[in-house]
Symmetry: C2
Amino acid sequence: MSKIVMKFGGTSVGTTEKIAHVANRIRKEKEKGHDIVVVVSAMGKTTDELVKLAHEITESPTKREMDMLLTTGEQVTMSLLAIQLNALDIDAISLTGWQAGLQTDNVYRNARVENLDGSKILNLLEEGKVVIVAGFQGVSSDGEITTLGRGGSDTTAVAIAVSIEADICDIYTDVEGVFTSDPRFVPNARKLEQLEYDEMLELANLGAGVLHPRAVEFAKNYKIPLRVRSSYVENEGTILKEEVDVEKNLVVRGVAFESDIVRLTIEYEVPFNGSLASIFTTLANNHIDVDIIVQSIVDGVKPTVSFSIKKESLSEAITVLETHKEVLGFTFADFEVGLAKVSIVGSGMVSNPGVAAQMFDRLRKENIPVKMVSTSEIKVSVVVPQQNMILAANALHDEFKLGLSQ
Amino acid sequence: MSKIVMKFGGTSVGTTEKIAHVANRIRKEKEKGHDIVVVVSAMGKTTDELVKLAHEITESPTKREMDMLLTTGEQVTMSLLAIQLNALDIDAISLTGWQAGLQTDNVYRNARVENLDGSKILNLLEEGKVVIVAGFQGVSSDGEITTLGRGGSDTTAVAIAVSIEADICDIYTDVEGVFTSDPRFVPNARKLEQLEYDEMLELANLGAGVLHPRAVEFAKNYKIPLRVRSSYVENEGTILKEEVDVEKNLVVRGVAFESDIVRLTIEYEVPFNGSLASIFTTLANNHIDVDIIVQSIVDGVKPTVSFSIKKESLSEAITVLETHKEVLGFTFADFEVGLAKVSIVGSGMVSNPGVAAQMFDRLRKENIPVKMVSTSEIKVSVVVPQQNMILAANALHDEFKLGLSQ
């Protein structure tokens, strides 16, 4: 008998029919004698619809109230799933984030898990209940409702797995596992049987969209076996672990991409005075995630620094920068929208210096301009025009022989 | 400067456009310097839609989980209203039932308010904030989410008014006040300027649909001035107080009606053995509201007892009765659906014995059969076929000269 956390994403619970299907999956695991905790996201497009309602009112809704609004989505799913399980004579109980004891800091819309006391869940499991917990949401120490940011339900699942010392944390999704690239856009993409936490971390951070990076980080830190599986197809999915068997000696293991990137450029009229740190501290204090940072200081030319953020953070980033313009010591800021990021990832890359060059060469052959470059030990990212994103991803997937037919 | 509780019902907040209108109403009161607490219901048909989702799964969803499900409705409204007020530069904060400290017993779907510590709301008011509280919902002492039953948002509003010692509790609704009858079905109905708590209580209990009876009871017990006003038309509405000025010496002050009534009849094969109390205790323990009870014991005829319940409680009532059949000592139970209740209400009725006779006479003239009768000091109710309900209401409204043109 094992303790299992099963997490189902929004598309897996998009209708009451799909919820019935999920309940059936849960019943099968329960009948094997396992203790089951289920974590659910909001149904289908619910979150988008709630965001749309708020945006009918204003373009910049209060973050606290957005958390109030959005947390209703998971609450609807969890109660419907509990109703469905109870209707199948499976004793099930749903818990909101605060009821489950998922405590976070008080950063609205992007809170971090601070603590999760698993005792309430463990008590309910001992009573034989299937415990369903609302993903994505928590409560701060002063009783404020918070959300964990995009994809935060994965984090909830891993946090619960840690708190109850679960044997495995299964992330059920609409894909069969982690692929070498997103098969919706890269038709040649292939499912990976295994992947290292770090590789997944880069893929997740780069927007592969399968798992939330914080969830992977969490799982890595606590060595929780994490499995990405399909809600529909009953196969083994992709298992994340610390070190994987080398497949075909591939240096690159995946190609990730992310749309709606904006590049901001700041130019200094006066000599550069070390305010680089100040800019990014200010942005961080305002919870604007900066991704790639490129700085260029050339003699005789005004120093500039460019960085990329998500499109949705643009209006706030500009407000923050304008407000702090004088303190930060710059006099001009520009931005370029309509960009995307494409990255290659693989832990073997560190010992293979030619990979980046091979990447740039292929992009040049495809006539794709590179706007920014960033490298780490296990990945190389480029920022390209949005309209070239899919072409770039497919070309690189082909270049590094990741496909099914290679 | 006064402390005002403003409660807005579902139709008043049915769209973001309507929420903007409500925000404007709140702004006007705030600009007068008042401290404002707002209580909101779920938007328009949200609750119905959530119930429909649950019923797609099963006809008898778990009550606990239904409360989980339904409480999301008010949470959506309150956060959107807070977003709207903040967008108008009015400092506003929304609170769920548990955050506001509205503590109830743990009867799911029909909980009673046990306590409301107003200190959190008062602190927020002191900070100059408009405080928005989700109506209809509370939390039990063991942290379970509960709902106050149909129309419970009114109760929330009065409970808050009591806890913060508000000067007035304004119930904003889609009608301009309390009418002599429901103007949607009785075209000749007229708005009342004043009404006694007790009369309102009978009207509310009888399904006049303007105010929840518990809310009126609450207001009466704590002598909270309660005003029913229109969300759209800016007039004074109807004020509820202990004793009102007699208008035109009318004995009857209103005609109320309620559809979807079911009459259950129980017959005893064995001599009646005092199990009458047991039946209604059993039904009460299962939280089935029984309204009219009629008992008839005639020599030589088997004793019967008939009682009316709401249609929605029928399946549960039958289950409960079947389960307890042997203990309760009856051997036959029957029911009649398709019924409605029509009542006349007025505190002057007690000193006017001919009122009931006049009522029956008029119904006879209209060829409306009377299935059950129940009387109290300030009302007479009859159960009639559902298809005669509107005719009966209009006829009685006319009979007792309640109309505009009389």
